[in-house]
Amino acid sequence: MNIVICVKYVPDATADRHFEADNTVDRVGVPGLLSELDEYAVEQALQLKEKNAAGEGGEETTVTALTVGPAEAANAIKKALQMGADKGVHVVDDAIAGSDYLATSQVLAAAIKKIGEESPVDVVLCGMASTDATGSVIPAMLAERLDLPQVTLGSVIESQGKEFRIKRDGDTSTEVIGATAPLVLSVTDQSGEARYPSFKGIMAAKKKPLETWSLSDIGVDAGEVGLDAAWTLVEDTEQRPPRTQGEIVTDEDGSGAKALVEFLASKKFI
């Protein structure tokens, strides 16, 4: 089985995230890391690999971690390799900076097709969202571009050979979604804790292949991607003034509850 995990290098949510002068996210000046939500996708890929190996005949599985981003984004792949992915592909090209969802999905789809030239891709695995843009649209867009079944937002993932089933918790109902590989699968943070890289894994990762591809390697025209080609234009970004702390009272013999009710009444919530 051939699995490609799409991973993203994002600014650390606990750092001071901000925008650059051209209103794009500063991806270099802020400490970055593998998006926490993509770790769940890496975990599910590794579990699939382990399951296939343990099954009848011991099927061989290759897990490729794919990212699109600046030079620093290689760190996201390295983390995935340390966790247990077999190889990495990093699409890096100055022309990509500032790409919108459409261009990003186009670049990812082209890279996945190229990975598939060697041996067909069975599962494209994604996290539920990135922790910076939080759009949750790329997996669906990849399914559209690659013409594959979209099996997304799984909290429980089951498979038998090429048959996949997930549990999808929606706003108003919980659904079971089924499809046959090749497919695009995305998994939520409910799908199972992601493993930490072991010492052995960290050492082994250094020897794993990491290829770097440019746009021309994957046959995407540089003029179709990046900030200038984006179909969305950010006109302004503004830091929200930090919230100012209001009154804090310490509860003593019921005083806290009284003060709380007074506050709610003064704001007309009661």
Binding site: A13, R17, L37, D100, Y101, L102, T131, G135, S136, V137, I138, A140, M141, E144, R145, L148, P149, Q150, R168, D169, G170, D171, T172, S173, E175, V176, I177, G178, A179, L183, Q190, A230, W231, T232, L233, V234, E235, T237, E238, Q239, R240, R243, Q245, G246, E247, I248, V249, T250, D251, G254, G256, A257, K258, A259, L260, V261, F263, L264, F269, I270
Partner: protein, 326 residues
């Protein structure tokens, strides 16, 4: 005026509140046309509901052949309606509810139509210069607001719940049954089973004006949190710690990987206030917290805070509120 397509958010033909918010926004941009994808027999009821909020037209797509498949057929249906509308004049925008299905439909539709896409708008207005809708988004855990617009194709925008106060205004509500052709490739992901979520009797979390949430500090006992919530007519939510501990199902989770709420009042009980939680509630109008730990970071955000044990503060507050209400 150009049509603005609004995808109706509904459960079995019962229209949900975000639909009315989208119709209200649509009126700022053009002539609202609702798109109902559902059971044909529910269409008349839906037309009655959406015309009260200004829908001039209601496109009805009978979902008998497509309801067993995940999102892809709905994107094809919207594509075909948008193309039909474009024969006269391009739609001014396509507005879609920003929930899991809605965002995925929007993503696929953007590729099909060759249109720019903006997700999770918290406000949409017409631009002064006639350059199409301008959106406001709240990003980086609510620490930045972003103004953006779409520069290519029909603007596709997913809009978060509570982004507008629904305004009633009678529309014509002309029903138009629309026959769609769904490709085989849109039928590759099947909905094998579906279990509706049990109604709690409380307001819907993302739509509620007041949200009362509990975290690790509840110790797994949500009785006091729920009692307090009921006394002020609030929805109940939970932190990730409470959900991970199995005290509440994931549908209750507020935060980066759960629901993002923006109510008039948010009351955090026994929740420390990690960045991931803040991402889900930071844009609430008024924030109140009850926590034993005076060092809890949640207190940095609050308009009012009580340092105390929620197990004693909440029941006392509930009793006081009930007494006041008489």
């Amino acid at each position: 005026m150009s049509e603005v397509l609004v995808l109706v958010d509904h459960v079995d033909g019962k229209v949900r509140k975000p639909t009315y918010e989208l119709l209200t926004i649509a009126k700022r941009l053009g002539e609202p046309s609702a798109v109902f994808i559902g059971a044909a027999e529910a269409a008349d009821g839906v037309v009655e509901s959406v015309k009260k909020y200004g829908a001039e037209k209601v496109y009805v797509v009978d979902d008998a052949q497509i309801k067993g498949y995940l999102v892809a057929p709905k994107a094809e249906a919207l594509q075909q309606i948008a193309q039909k509308v474009s024969e006269k004049a391009d739609p001014a925008a396509i507005l879609i509810p920003s929930n899991a299905d809605g965002k995925e439909i929007a993503g696929r539709l953007a590729i099909k139509l060759g249109s720019g896409l903006i997700t999770d708008a918290v406000d949409v207005s017409a631009s002064a210069g006639g350059e199409g809708p301008v959106t406001t988004q709240s990003v980086f855990a609510g620490s930045y607001t972003v103004q953006a617009r779409i520069t290519n194709g029909t603007p596709i925008i997913t809009v978060k719940p509570n982004s507008a106060a629904p305004e009633e205004s009678e529309g014509a509500g002309a029903k138009e049954e629309f026959a769609v052709t769904i490709s085989d490739s849109a039928k590759k992901a099947k909905i094998v089973a579906s279990q509706p979520r049990a109604a709690s009797g409380r307001p819907e979390l993302t739509e509620a004006a007041i949200v009362v949430a509990g975290g690790r500090g509840t110790g797994g006992n949500f009785e006091e949190v729920e009692g307090f919530a009921d006394s002020i007519g609030a929805a109940v939510g939970a932190s990730r710690a409470a959900v991970d501990s199995g005290w509440k199902p994931h549908a209750f989770q507020i935060g980066q990987t759960g629901k993002v709420v923006s109510p008039q009042l948010y009351v955090a009980n026994g929740i420390s206030g990690a960045i991931q939680h803040r991402a889900g509630m930071q844009t609430s109008k008024t924030i109140v917290a009850v926590n034993k730990d005076e060092e809890a970071p949640i207190f940095e955000l609050v308009d009012f805070g009580v340092v105390g044990d929620l197990h004693t503060v909440l029941p006392a507050a509930t009793e006081e509120i009930t007494k006041r209400k008489g």
